[in-house]
């Protein structure tokens, strides 16, 4: 798909903006804190109605405003020319697709893939398992409502069991009641994560090889806390762990403790990878995510690159761009425009939440 027009109102620091995109390469430039990332955040919101950097949608609404709106027109492989409008209020969101109100997220998910390449992505390799699980959940749920449903069931049943454990004094029957909901949802998550990561890992391996020298293969692996996706076995394990969980006042084991492992040449990238290898791994992960979205949805994702290119050495940057299909729309941000050798970009200057196309000083440089 290709975004043709993006319209923001009261979104973060953007009071009102309309951007007309021509072609498939857009570059937004400006000092930090002016609104470049906000625009990518709005475009990325299309995919699963989630922000790539905020968990609370209230943060997206401009200060003192009751409602924020994102409206866009796009060319779409399956739907043709499509118009999507999202309204965000402190207590919820409204969604329209071609003037029709969408009330079920399941009817919407998987249609509008975008992938954000962020400078924060390095934390996916270096940071805590929670960040990797969040990435995996967002990736799988963005394409599949059944994954989202299993995740929501698991999360709610886990919260129920944990609050029984926290308060203490719950009977075995009460704990069991929530375990019997928890176990099948856990098995479902493990099955879907195993399959999803297997597919993503194959693409990551290929993407990493494009970015780096051959002979140092990069890999992604699912590291489940408990690998056997059987509801009966999981239920027995929850029952068996009750005494320990009562002591810890929390459910100690389960898919909420799953992790992803990145490695280069078979060694854990978190501990042994160089910074360059770690950066290449997260780029490869995002490329894998894009390829997976395309296979799953039949729609070419829009790539949103938030200030990631400046941090790469020239050789890796060239390889990164070589790995990206000319047919893919890329909306990128940075403090200075991309090298002329990377082709023609539509340039926007961003200052204080406003966007100016073809700023005169930029043209002089290009």
């Amino acid at each position: 798909m290709r975004l043709r027009k993006l319209n923001l109102r009261h979104f973060r620091n953007v009071d009102l903006a309309t951007l007309d995109f021509s072609g498939r390469r857009q570059f937004l430039t400006g000092a930090n804190g002016q609104g470049k990332t906000n625009l990518l955040e709005a475009a990325g919101f299309l995919t699963a109605l989630r922000s790539f950097r905020a968990t609370d949608n209230r943060l997206l609404i401009g200060q003192g405003q009751a409602v924020a709106a994102i409206a866009c027109e796009l060319e779409h492989e399956r739907l043709g020319d499509t118009r999507v409008t999202i309204k965000l209020r402190p207590d919820g969101k409204e969604l329209w697709c071609d003037q029709e109100r969408v009330t079920r997220l399941a009817d919407y998910l998987g249609k509008f893939p975008t992938v954000v390449f962020s400078s924060q992505d390095l934390q996916l390799v270096r940071g805590s398992p929670a960040g990797r699980r969040r990435w995996l959940d967002l990736t799988l749920a963005a394409m599949d409502a059944s994954y989202l449903r299993a995740l929501q069931t698991y999360t709610k049943a886990l919260a129920g069991r944990n609050s029984l454990l926290k308060r203490g004094g719950a009977s075995d029957q009460e704990l069991s009641a929530f375990e019997q909901v928890l176990a099948p949802a856990a098995a479902d998550l493990i099955v879907q994560r195993t399959k999803g990561v297997r597919e993503l890992a194959a693409t990551l391996k290929a993407a990493y090889a494009q970015l780096c020298d051959e002979g140092e293969p990069g890999a992604l692996a699912y590291e489940p806390d408990f690998a056997e996706p059987s509801a009966e076995v999981l239920l027995a394990r929850l029952e068996g762990g009750r005494a320990r969980d009562v002591q810890f006042r929390a459910t100690v084991a389960g898919p909420h403790r799953d992790d992803l492992g990145f490695s280069v040449r078979g060694r854990a990238a978190k501990d042994f990878g160089s910074e360059g290898q770690q950066r290449s791994l997260v780029l490869a992960l995002r490329l894998a995510q894009a390829a997976w979205f395309q296979v799953r949805s039949g729609v070419r994702p829009v790539l949103l690159a938030d200030d990631v290119l400046g941090e790469l050495d020239p050789a890796r940057r060239r390889r990164f761009w070589a790995a990206i299909d000319a047919e893919s729309q890329v909306i990128a941000t940075g403090t200075k425009p991309p090298d002329a050798e990377l082709g023609a970009w539509q340039l926007f200057a961003v200052a204080d939440g406003t966007f100016l196309e073809n700023p005169p000083d930029m043209e002089a440089k290009a």
């Binding site: 049943a157 919260a159 129920g160 069991r161 308060r167 029957q173 929530f178 909901v181």
Partner: protein, 198 residues
């Protein structure tokens, strides 16, 4: 407006489905347009507050003794449909597909909100099961995590020496939705297509 008027309007606005405008309209209607209705309404409210209690057998609304459904001898007391709230009972009744009786739990297990088994109308259900007259239990609880957990909890408390058939309706109900939100046709087919549960 006056302080007393505002107090009335504020109270009305607490009622389900009433916003600021509609509560104001009702207050004006009662006080200005049809003041004659007011004493009748006040009396009806007082009487209802005094008279309407929970049915000692099933938890449905009743006045002094069994509710109209429990007292109806044509209903099959061997088939008990367990619901969360009285409005759910009303919804199943409206489907006209059910000739058994009910049990209203007045909630579902919700540890996050501090609702445990003792906060539900459970003991009287277990007492009913112990009498042996219940052949089938239809669990018509909401199709979400807490509704499911409540069903699992219930099934663990069935007397082991009695053969009680347990069925669950959830078919056709919107996922995550309560029984109340299902229309009569959906509920009817859900009742007819209920699946075994245990």
């Amino acid at each position: 407006m006056t302080p007393a008027f505002e107090k009335l309007q504020k109270q009305l606005k607490q009622l389900p489905g009433l916003g600021y405008r509609s509560s104001e309209r009702i207050a004006l209607h009662l006080l200005v347009e049809k003041p004659g209705q007011l004493p009748v309404l006040v009396e009806a409210l007082q009487q209802a507050a005094l008279a309407v209690k929970r049915c000692p057998r099933c938890g449905n609304l009743a006045e002094g003794g069994l509710c109209a459904i429990c007292a109806d001898e044509r209903r099959d007391a061997g088939v008990v449909c367990v619901v969360e709230h009285v409005p759910d009972l009303v919804a199943v009744e409206r489907s006209a597909a059910f000739r058994g009786v009910y049990h209203v739990l007045h909630g579902k297990l919700s540890p996050i909100n501090g609702v445990g088994p003792d906060d539900l109308n459970l003991k009287s259900l277990l007492a009913r099961l112990a009498t042996g007259e219940v052949r089938e239990l239809i669990l018509a609880l909401s199709n979400d995590v807490e509704g499911e957990a409540t069903c699992h909890y219930l099934t663990q408390h069935l007397p082991a020496d009695r053969a009680v058939k347990i069925t669950r309706i959830g078919f056709g109900l919107p996922s995550g939705g309560g029984v109340l939100y299902a229309d009569s046709v959906t509920l009817k087919s859900a009742l007819e297509g209920r699946r075994d549960y245990s």
